[in-house]
């Protein structure tokens, strides 16, 4: 059976094509202004990557913040449920998953069978999400991908009030002016985001195994910060941004 899953996120839209329990094609593109058009485009791209014709797809399910207003999907799944299904498909032993995207972060605890037991969402504040790292990377004149390396090179813990992304941006300017090392600033910011996520995780309760998904999972420094704070190990699947879309494709196959 062939199904497709689309994850219409705040920043990027992702699509995967699944055939008989295997991911055979995927694509990702910025959400842009017209999220519906973006969803259709990535879907077509994923289809051609998989060399599969649209008519052969049994069902398309969609998830993500921008899932409303997309009319070619036959069903929709909540983001929490997509994160749960997606991660269990890849890592069947996971009981706690943190999914941190551009504008939203969530922590989900699962039962042994993979059902959602409890979850917490932060959608109100950029200080706990990927957008914050992007803003900081811009201010530090570096790439988002390099923030993890910077974290590793930090030698000093600095005091930073990074509870609000807007305030942090102004504080960054003074830190840069006072010759604070970029690495130390990067660590302070990633620790701050880590703190936010840890408090969400504590609210839902942490059970092993723990996994991270979403774009922020690619950021080693962030993962390290959370691991250290909770004294746990966090697994990150390959292509963590696609986990929500995989979850939607799994739901479509059920």
């Amino acid at each position: 059976m062939i199904t497709a899953g689309i994850d219409s996120g705040a920043k990027n839209v992702k699509a995967v094509i699944m055939k008989d329990g295997r991911v055979v094609g995927k694509a990702m593109a910025p959400a842009g202004l017209d999220t519906k058009a973006a969803a259709e485009n990535v879907y077509n791209e994923a289809l051609s990557a998989a060399r599969i014709a649209k008519k052969d797809v049994r069902k398309v399910f969609i998830t993500g913040a921008g899932r409303k207003g997309c009319d070619f999907a036959q069903g929709e799944v909540s983001e929490v449920s997509a994160a749960a299904k997606g991660i269990r498909f890849i890592m069947p032993n996971v009981r706690t998953v943190i999914d941190i995207g551009a504008e939203e972060g969530k922590a989900v605890r699962l039962s042994q069978d993979g059902d959602v037991v409890d979850y917490a969402i932060n959608e109100k504040c950029a200080a706990g999400a990927g957008t914050f790292v992007e803003a900081v990377a811009r201010a530090l004149e570096t790439d988002v991908d390099k923030m993890g390396d910077l974290y590793d090179r930090s030698t000093k813990e600095i005091d930073m009030n990074a509870q609000c992304a807007v305030f942090a941006e102004s504080e960054l300017v003074s830190l840069i002016h006072s010759q604070t090392a970029k690495a130390d600033i990067a660590r302070a910011v990633l620790n701050a985001i880590g703190d936010r996520v840890v408090s969400m995780m504590r609210r839902v309760g942490v059970e092993k195994d723990v996994a991270a998904t979403g774009g922020m999972a690619l950021n080693r420094g962030f993962i390290r910060a959370v691991e250290k704070e909770l004294n746990i190990t966090i697994s990150v699947p390959a292509d963590p941004q696609y986990v929500g879309a995989i979850g939607a494709a799994v739901a479509a196959a059920e």
């Binding site: 202004l33 504008e103 109100k124 504040c125 950029a126 200080a127 957008t131 914050f132 803003a135 509870q163 609000c164 992304a165 807007v166 305030f167 102004s170 300017v173 003074s174 002016h177």
Partner: protein, 303 residues
Amino acid sequence: MSDGKKEFWRWPESRWTNLEIDWKKGKYITAGIDVGSVSTQGVIMVDGELYCYGNIRTGSNSPDSAINVFNKATEGTGLTLRDIHFTVGTGYGRVNVPFGNRAITEIACHARGANWMYGPAVRTVLDMGGQDCKAIKIDDKGKVVAFLMNDKCAAGTGRGMEVFADLLGVPIEDIGEMSLNVAEEPPPVSSTCVIFAKSEAATLLRAGWPKEKVLAAYCSAMAHRVLSLLEKVNVEREFAITGGIAKNQGVVKRLTKELGLEACEAKWHNKAYAERGFPFDTQIAGAIGAALFGKALAEKARR
């Protein structure tokens, strides 16, 4: 940052002197310096009367900002630091006022200043500053009874408003009026976080909303945000607003409407000041409070 581009967030700096006073005849000349995270104010009082003030943007370090505001306030008056008997520092950078004799929290100073500016009937002060927002309950002497503060999030602060001024290319002092220029009140911007609200506003603009409507939606969101803080303190009459956002009628009108309680008119309680048309600047409340504390402390020191 500037590269020749107009900076819409830049609000005008100002200063003023009370020409009726000859400071040389003063017994107690005191200074209140309020070094905030976004703006810095300096007030000089001669025997407890407002003599002059300055209002500037805070620079990259607090000691310089304190000195700059003193110079701005005393411009053309001939007053120098040596003529000041007592200086009280307040605000975020209060401990970094190089010529300060004492540091007092901005909560106490805003309470005292609001009491002096708006009059002893004031029981609730809402100070909407550049980087935080406080609801302060006070008694008839201007003493703090209770307070609540949001200093963790830019939503509902002047900094948030500056971000919007830049995004929409509207001078910050025009935002309030413009936001009231809508036929129908739009729903507030749904995002709490300024960063998210910014992307939401950009989407609305692209969808063809006029700037006025987007500003109305943001001012309304800001009013909601502050309202949730006020709801926790049980607002009592009289209700006065201080700080920079007090100048934004777009926020103030929406806030008082939802609260169901009029805010005090921005007018001197001191009749003589009101009649003479002394400028009533809601941003100097903290510095006024500090200068008043300075007077009390100077008197105590001399006794």
